[in-house]
């Protein structure tokens, strides 16, 4: 591909060359014409001078009729080889003396007193000059000389040729140097245009270096680039937002599908969970029906039924709470209360189960009063859930610790046990609905599956976080709840802790 760079430069060069050649050509023609005429005149004049000298020298010879002396005079011309022939004619055309083999006068020339003049015959010039002595015309001298106009013109033309070549070279050099001023701005525009085409980068601009027409072009080009850039950008951003929207839609669809799947799963587990206690209840009823008289057995059956019922009630209550939270219908009744009160209330709730499984409970609370702005009932529900979990997932006779601590901004409550722990891969999912650590254990212990989900929702409603930690299966678990602390001075009168809302 032929670059535009070469094209505009070579065009300018061509213009300069053609102009120079035309101008020099005209000058050369004029010079040659002038020179050939001037040369002819100069040669004729110079030869005429010689003719007049010869004539004057020969005048006495003519006067005293001495052709020999005249011949001797003419013969002196031999020192100049260009003189081919010379002759002196009397005014009546009679030959008086001559020099050279040939006739000096041309074939058609008048010999009888033609005056001063010259004629050119091919490569020779014949000049004739009148010989005058006093008032008398004595004769005419003819000189025939070589006339090297051709050679002269050849020399002249070769010099002109050299001048032409030198002028062209000089013109080329000068134009190469000067055309930069014209081509540079245009080339800059072309360069940027090419880059824009190649890179699709409309932020490029041409630097404006002149205020002439090219400057106007540069301004217009830059303005056009800006306009195109703006439009391309608008198009691109609308494309991007379309892409983003479709991506979001895809993600939303995916999430919906996932939620749907989870809901199905949830429904299956829920049905299973609701179904589980029914078998023991039916068995207990059967026992009561058949052996109602046996007080010991009936008592045991009744206790089992109570336990199962309590389990179901808790499950359904939790589900209701989760449902309320997710539908946004749960309103927290916030008040500033001491943390210790909430913790104790939770322990009171969980105490029967802990005692039933013969666990040792250690409680560590900060000595100072630490206030939190919470719904005390709901927060106690969170802690009691965690305590129940700890009690359930720890072999009987284990140890459970409740540790409260506080710094300037935040309150931390850690509930730790030395129970079955959580496998590392399960840590991330324990807060999901019906994520049970061990299905087999659940059956025995009467698992919840909803409790941790509820706990997380409630803590987050309070602006806090909950975190599960475990060093692995069989190495105990630790749940850490962090809540924002409020200044103790702002504490209102403590209210009595509500109890029995859960469990």
């Amino acid at each position: 591909m032929r670059g535009p760079t070469q094209s505009i430069r070579s065009k300018l060069m061509l213009v300069v060359l053609v102009t120079t050649v035309a101008a020099l050509g005209i000058v050369a023609v004029a010079l040659v014409i002038y020179e050939s005429r001037a040369y002819e005149q100069a040669v004729a004049r110079s030869i005429l001078t010689q003719a007049q000298i010869v004539g004057r020298a020969s005048a006495p010879a003519l006067v005293f009729d001495d052709p020999k002396a005249a011949r001797e005079n003419l013969a002196l011309l031999r020192v100049q080889p260009r003189f081919q022939a010379a002759a002196i004619y009397r005014p009546n055309g009679q030959l008086f003396a001559s020099y050279g083999q040939r006739d000096a006068a041309g074939p058609g020339m008048s010999r009888s007193d033609p005056g001063d003049g010259y004629a050119i015959e091919g490569n020779e010039i014949v000049v004739h000059g009148r010989i005058v002595e006093g008032n008398d015309v004595l004769g005419t001298v003819f000189l025939r000389s070589a006339y090297a106009l051709d050679a002269r013109l050849r020399d002249y033309l070769s010099i002109l040729g050299l001048v032409l070549v030198a002028s062209l070279v000089l013109a080329l050099l000068l134009s190469a140097a000067l055309q930069r001023a014209i081509t540079q701005p245009i080339l800059a525009v072309a360069n940027v245009a090419r880059q824009v085409m190649q890179r699709r980068d409309f932020s490029l601009r041409v630097a404006k270096t002149t205020d002439d027409e090219v400057g106007v072009l540069v301004d217009a080009f830059n303005a056009m680039l800006a306009e195109v850039g703006r439009r391309a950008e608008a198009l691109e951003s609308s494309n991007a937002s379309l892409m983003r929207e479709s991506g979001e839609r895809r993600e939303a669809e995916e999430a919906l599908r996932e939620a749907d799947r989870r809901k199905d799963e949830f429904l299956a587990i829920l049905a299973h969970e609701l179904r589980n206690p029914l078998a023991p209840l039916r068995n207990a009823l059967e026992i009561l029906k058949r052996r109602g008289s046996d007080t010991a057995v009936a008592n045991e059956a009744r206790q089992m039924m109570e336990r199962q019922l309590r389990q179901m009630v808790r499950l359904v209550d939790d589900l209701l709470d989760v449902s309320r939270i997710t539908t946004g219908k749960l309103a927290l009744k916030r008040e500033v209360v001491p943390l210790a009160e909430v913790v104790r209330s939770a322990i009171d709730t969980a105490r029967p189960l802990i005692d039933a499984r013969a666990h040792t409970l250690g409680i560590t609370l900060p000595l100072e009063r630490v206030d939190v702005d919470v719904d005390a009932t709901r927060l106690a529900q969170v802690f009691s859930n965690l305590l129940n979990n700890a009690a359930n997932y720890t072999e009987p006779g284990g140890r459970i610790d409740v540790i409260g601590s506080a710094d300037e901004h935040q309150v931390t409550v850690t509930i730790r046990d030395n129970g079955i722990g959580i496998a590392p891969e399960m840590i991330a999912t324990v807060f999901r609905m019906f994520a049970q650590a061990d299905a087999s254990l659940e059956r025995v212990q009467g698992g919840l599956g909803v409790g941790l989900t509820l706990a997380r929702h409630l803590v987050e409603l309070h602006g806090g976080t909950i975190e599960a930690k475990s060093e692995g299966s069989g190495r105990g678990s630790e749940f850490v709840v962090r809540l924002p602390r409020v200044a103790s001075g702002a504490a209102s009168a403590p209210k009595p802790v509500a109890s029995g809302s859960a469990l």
Binding site: E40, Q41, A44, R45, L48, R56, A57, A59, P60, A61, L62, V63, F64, D65, D66, A69, R90, P91, N92, Q94, G106, G108, M109, S110, S112, P114, D116, G117, Y118, A119, I120, E121, V126, V127, H128, E133, G134, N135, D136, L138
Partner: protein, 199 residues
Amino acid sequence: MLTRTSTQPALRRVVEVSLLACLTACMLVIGAWSTPAPLGDGGASPSATSVKAAFVYRFLAFVEWPEQAFASADAPMVIGVLGADALAHELEEVVANRRIDERAIEVRRVDVAHALDGVNVLYVGEQASSALTGLAARAARASVLVVSDFADALDEGSVINLLVVDNRVRFEVSLEAATRSALRLSSRLLGVAYRVRAP
């Protein structure tokens, strides 16, 4: 500016023919008026006397006289002719209406007694050759150009002596006599002299 002569053959021929016609016509008219033909214009074998007369006239242009030789700036150039009546006649015709250095030219036939009275040039013919010896010294003092026409005239004190060589009129010059006469002869004249006698 020099004019270049046309060498175009046809035109040249026409010009040539018409020029020739004109020339012929002119010659006829001139012949009819019987005007003496100027020297060297190709008249049919001019006589030796007329050539000599022309020579005498032509010498004037190549000789320079001292100032005191003439009474005034417009005094005529007087040529005295001694012992050569035929030549005097020819000479009168030659110099008619001619001037030399703005001077009129006068031809006088003189005798020996008054040969040098008021003349600038004295022509001594062969008939008066014996008189030359007596005149030469005075002529030299008066700066008179002595032109003679007989053998050995230079020995007698003549400045220019005419002679005929191979049927052509020639002349010899004595520079000694010229110097004695306080006359200056042009070197161009000497160039065509048959003989120059140097001092």
